[in-house]
Symmetry: C2
Subunit: 125 residues, 2 copies
DNA sequence: CGGGATCCTGCAGGATACTG
DNA sequence: CAGTATCCTGCAGGATCCCG
């Protein structure tokens, strides 16, 4: 099998790599997760804002926009005078919750491994 | 449960978020994966370079450096005249292979969901 | 309250050339 | 072959102000 390239389909647009893009935009997975744990219905913008510490209003709306365009969430406007908007997962969006939870669960169960890291690739000042 | 903030520990340095940082640096997970599937021993720099289409020589060494500092890989120099260097997973690094494979496997099994995306968050020209 | 528009910044990350 | 050093670029993402 010689393998000048790779021993499996490992092109730039293969499935694994495209999955990674989900996590390339910093907030996407957290929004998916939040919409999931709050599956008692759609979530208002303000709720999302307060549920995800550190996210800015701009990035929240921007990411939601992209997710809506991607077909991951649906946006519903209720009022017009004091705007009341909520977001809900689409069936497609719900599917992407799985890899997110997979990853997050692993993190929770392996906090000791995370602690054992000498220096983090990012977030190191 | 009121939840002004979050319904679970969801601070900026919680385990899930720190797990995400693993994938923040674009190439880390791919290197982990490559070192894993080539577990028949350590891998030479050139092998890694050819196994990961699209990675540049610079990013490869740079990422490997960070991973070494983090304790994920060990670097071994063999020659000095024609430098022969190889990298191997540490026990800690091996642990981080799991979430990577988890994610990649999901992607392979759910290529249809990836195809169903209308617009990708990234890689959109 | 939700969200657009604008400005500004850091940093991931590519290209290239040089050393041993 | 492996690695370093520069230079340069795009873009994620923060802060701020304004609109309905």
């Amino acid at each position: 099998m010689q393998a000048g390239t790779a021993d499996e389909e490992w092109r730039e647009d293969c499935a694994p790599r495209r999955t990674l893009e989900l996590f390339a935009t910093k907030w996407t997975s957290m929004i998916l997760h939040t919409l999931h744990v709050r599956h008692d219905g759609p979530a208002r913008t303000g709720v999302l804002l307060r549920s995800i510490p550190g996210i800015s209003k701009k990035m929240l709306t921007q990411t939601l926009r992209e997710m809506e365009a991607a077909g991951l969430v649906v946006r519903t406007v209720h009022g017009t005078v004091p705007p009341a908007v909520d977001y809900a997962l689409t069936p497609l969006g719900a599917r992407f919750v799985e890899p997110v939870e997979l990853l997050y669960d692993w993190g929770r169960r392996n906090a000791d491994a995370l602690d054992a890291l000498q220096a983090k690739p990012t977030s190191r000042r």
